[in-house]
């Protein structure tokens, strides 16, 4: 007889912590709903003029980006997973580099490069013999297709990493079987590898689309009116916070349906590859001219997504340094950025670890199962929207505390959460919780539950199991999650802009301030630093992946087969 999961006994430390985090995550959304309910007049106007067009643009952008990253990400992953050509190892790393670039930095760099009086078109005109820019009209990057390209090149690594993992670790069996049955390369890819990788493609595309919708800078720059831009604009230009909250909620629904779509695409029909699929896929050697051609083809995404714009950025920064010298605040801003990111990472990853372990250690408890899900809401909410909600929450908390203290006879307290380092850290933790939780959960799912159970049977309590079993075995997962978390915190912009304390500047806010003024080149050095920090986790993650992929020194088939003969008793 199935036991009904009792709620109360599950309220141990894990449960309480999970409830706290869940509440924190939901608070800004609730605040948004309250705000949205408070406004009336403008919304009808908004929903007839702004929202329809913005929704269409957003949907088209999302679809376009999803298609682009799916094709480029999967194609490049297949290339480096199944073909060994000169420079493959280098390409494996290069293809990940666009992760280090925030989308709006990429947008600006390319706009600069491709402007009619920028370096590329000027050179082209020189080559073709045109003197005036007006004589050679090329398509403008500032358009929906242009935006799809920019976001696509910035975000394809999400799909690339996910599908490459699948190809390397789980596709070997079916791929070899298909080859033995006479299937050529393209048939193997389309009929076997791609269907197997479909969940990974779906997950990567969802991440890319969410990043696209979160962005405020690049879309504005490339003159694509997304819903996020509408939210921002409604609030900023019309001071219509309730109206903005309403659009924000519409966005949330849009995103939630997107997430459900992803869940459907990912779930599917029991796609788990049966059996002990421990073989790694061995890439086929391609040498000579064909190998070089493959390298060049594979280099394209990395070229457009990182190498060319990075070089441009470095050149601009160097130019600026030569012209105007080093800005005095850069060192302080870097320190503050690192401090903020490090604190948020420590807390966020710790919270994710606790919630993921909590779910595992309380099977069947709805509270513990729901906690990580609820806490992940922050990721689906664009930074601006989350920050608006949190602003309201913090203000309310501060006011409440102040009233309480005054009632108890004390001096009025100042700002506790509003405009505080703590408030900003909480915002970042909520925003990126899902990043950490997803990575840790994937690794945790690979640990057999029997490990936990044997520890419990041997006398350890739940928290002790987490300490003794999860912590040591999941350390690489924690480290990986921490890296991604750290970099995203460093690049984060809208929430930081809104919630930061007095005089607190991060590299990204500095950069945006310059962009707001149009003096982007002043921010080039800050941009370079952001990108440099963004490179760190890529290098480390690649190193870890490389170690796991070292060529076998033991022959295959070395499984736990019993020895020959009738066997001893």
């Amino acid at each position: 007889m199935p036991r009904r999961p009792a709620l109360l006994p599950a309220l141990d430390g894990f449960g309480l912590f999970g409830a706290l985090v869940g509440l924190l995550a939901v608070a800004p959304i609730a605040a948004l709903v309250a705000l949205a309910a408070g406004g009336d007049g403008p919304w009808r106007h908004l929903f007839t003029t702004v929202v329809p067009a913005a929704t269409v643009d957003t949907a088209l952008l999302a679809l376009g980006v999803a298609a682009f990253v799916a094709v480029v990400g999967t194609g490049s992953a297949w290339l480096v997973a199944t073909r060994d050509f000169p420079g493959r190892r280098l390409l494996e790393v290069l293809l990940l580099l666009p992760l280090a670039f925030p989308a709006y930095v990429l947008a600006y760099s390319w706009l600069d490069l491709l402007h009619p009086i920028g370096p590329l078109q000027t050179a082209l005109r020189g080559l073709l013999g045109y003197s005036r820019p007006a004589d050679l009209r090329l398509p403008d990057l500032r358009s929906l297709p242009g935006a799809i390209l920019v976001f696509g090149f910035a975000l394809y690594p999400y799909v690339h990493v996910a599908t490459r993992t699948v190809f390397l670790s789980r596709a070997a069996g079916p791929v070899e079987a298909a080859r033995m049955l006479g299937a050529r390369s393209s048939r193997v890819f389309f009929r076997v590898a791609l269907p197997l990788a479909r969940p990974a493609v779906a997950a990567g595309c969802a991440l890319a689309v969410m990043e696209t919708l979160n962005d405020v800078g690049a879309a504005e720059f490339l003159s694509v009116n997304t819903l996020t831009a509408a939210v921002y604009s409604t609030w900023i230009n019309r001071s219509d916070l309730p109206g903005a909250a309403q659009i924000a909620l519409a966005m949330l629904i849009f995103l939630l349906s997107l997430l459900m779509l992803e869940r459907i695409a990912r779930g599917g029909r029991g796609y788990a590859v049966a059996g002990r699929a421990t073989r790694r896929l061995e890439p086929r050697r391609v040498g000579g001219a064909r190998g070089v051609a493959l390298f060049v083809v594979g280099l394209m995404p990395a070229l457009f997504g990182f190498l060319v714009p990075a070089l441009h950025l470095v050149w601009q920064a160097a130019d600026r340094l030569a012209f105007a010298g080093l800005a005095e605040d850069i060192a302080r801003e870097t320190r503050d950025t690192v401090l903020l990111a490090a604190t948020a990472t420590a807390l966020g990853v710790a919270a994710a670890a606790v919630l993921v372990s909590g779910r595992r250690l309380h099977p069947g408890s709805p509270l513990h199962a729901a906690a990580p899900r609820i806490a992940s809401i922050g990721y689906a909410v664009p930074g601006t929207v989350l920050a608006i909600g949190l602003l309201a929450v913090y203000g309310a908390v501060d006011a409440g505390v102040r009233a309480l203290v005054v009632d108890l006879g004390g001096a009025p307290t100042g700002l506790l959460l509003s405009a505080s380092f703590a408030g900003l850290v909480i915002a970042l933790c909520l925003r990126f919780f899902r990043l950490a939780a997803a990575g840790i959960e994937t690794a945790a799912d690979r640990l057999p539950v029997t490990l936990d159970q044997s520890a419990r049977v041997l006398g350890r309590g739940r928290f002790a199991v987490m300490r003794a079993v999860h912590l040591p075995l999941l350390t690489p997962a924690y480290a990986g999650a921490a890296l991604l978390f750290f970099v995203d915190c460093m690049k984060e912009l809208p929430a930081t802009l809104l919630l930061r304390p007095l005089g607190f500047e991060t590299l990204s806010t500095h950069l945006y301030g310059e962009a707001a003024r149009g003096t982007y080149e002043n921010g080039a050095l800050a941009a370079c630093l952001i990108v440099a920090f963004g490179l760190l986790p890529i290098v480390v993650v690649t190193r870890i992946g490389r170690d796991a992929a070292r060529p076998r020194t033991a022959p295959p088939g070395l499984s736990a087969s019993p020895a020959v003969g009738r066997g001893a008793a």
């Binding site: 820019p133 720059f221 230009n237 130019d319 100042g414 700002l415 505080s420 080149e521």
Partner: protein, 342 residues
């Protein structure tokens, strides 16, 4: 990796923030919340500190200044709220986060149409919305109404219609000609656009040079920034490569927006704030605005920076800027209805 309970890690930060917030109001500083990029305000702050010894703490709040201050409530450390657009100033008053700054110095120095009647805010400097044109056109003058003329079809570059600089211009048009006429005018400009509104004012100059359009709209101080070479050789080329014209409203003058300041309702250092504002409208302060930021001084008679002055005499539109603020929401609605940014 050791796990730290969240609460324990937050406590030190709570303590830190409380300590900072509980610092008693010393007379030696003033806290300024500004929507103006710190780099632009810094020279003024520095000069003020040098003169008076009062330290200036600046917080750059790009968006949501009013919300931020309102959320901070009575404990807000803000003394002076500065904005680069009259609409924001009016909004601050609407949200009830300001109180009137009574200063005879300000009332004497700043013309009445450039400050609030009840003293709740005052302008500190002006920026005019100008038209930039392709040199080869040889254009000598233009009115704002001309921009909607079909002869300019496919020729206009401008930034987003929802940007405060543009909604202020449209609001001024509403105040002059009424809503319907202003809507028609905006639709006319929309029909003349060479490309979708995007980028900033400086991009307009670049786009004109790049042959993407023939005329564009931009603010006066950008001209100074570009032509002075302060932005680098490339931007100097942009600034030098376009003609700059001072357009006018029919029967009026050139549209200007103001940067201004308002006193925060719960300011801990109101006297220091007043001193700062009075400094800013003094000849020294106005000179810094003009020379450092290439803006038009608000005090009549103060000299503009030579590059700016060289653009021609500025006839300030006599419309009270408060009226612009009043029509801002309408202007924004018109932009949406016309589908200007699409």
């Amino acid at each position: 990796m050791t796990k730290k309970p969240t609460a324990a890690a937050l406590l030190p930060m709570f303590g830190f923030c409380a300590a900072v917030a509980a610092v008693p109001a010393a007379a030696e500083e003033v806290n300024v919340y500004t929507t103006r990029e710190p780099g632009l305000f810094a020279p003024l702050a520095k000069a003020f500190t040098e003169k008076t010894g009062i330290r200036v703490n600046t917080v750059f709040v790009k968006d949501g200044l009013a919300e931020r201050v309102a959320a901070e409530g009575t404990a807000s450390p803000a003394d002076l709220l500065m904005a680069v657009d009259v609409g924001v100033l009016a909004e601050l008053v609407d949200k009830g986060v300001t109180r009137p700054l009574t200063s005879p110095v300000v009332e004497r120095a700043v013309p009445a149409n450039l400050r609030a009647a009840d003293g709740s805010w005052t302008g500190l400097s002006m920026r005019a919305r100008l038209v930039w044109a392709d040199r080869s056109l040889g254009l000598k003058s233009i009115t704002y109404a001309d921009l909607a003329d079909p002869k300019w079809k496919g020729s206009i570059c401008i930034r987003s219609g929802q940007h405060p600089y543009n909604t202020a211009l449209i609001a001024a048009a509403i105040a002059h000609d009424g809503r319907a006429a202003a809507a028609a005018w905006v639709a006319g400009i929309h029909a003349n656009l060479a490309k979708k509104p995007s980028g900033g004012d400086r991009d307009v100059a670049r786009d004109i040079l790049g042959g993407l359009c023939r005329i564009g709209v931009g603010n006066s101080y950008y001209v100074g920034l570009m032509r002075s070479g302060r932005g680098g050789a490339e931007q100097k080329a942009w600034g030098d490569g376009v003609d700059v014209l001072l357009p006018t409203f029919e029967g009026g003058g050139t549209h200007v927006n103001i940067t201004g300041a308002a006193l925060a309702k719960h300011a801990p250092h109101p006297d220091a704030a007043r001193a700062l504002v009075e400094y800013l409208v003094s000849p020294e302060g106005q000179r810094v605005y003009a020379e450092q930021n290439f803006e038009y001084p608000i005090v009549p008679g103060a000299a503009a920076e030579p590059t700016i002055a060289g653009l021609g005499p500025l006839t300030v539109d006599p419309l009270p800027v408060a009226a612009i603020a009043a029509h801002r929401k309408e202007a924004s609605l018109i932009v949406d209805e016309v589908g200007f940014d699409r």
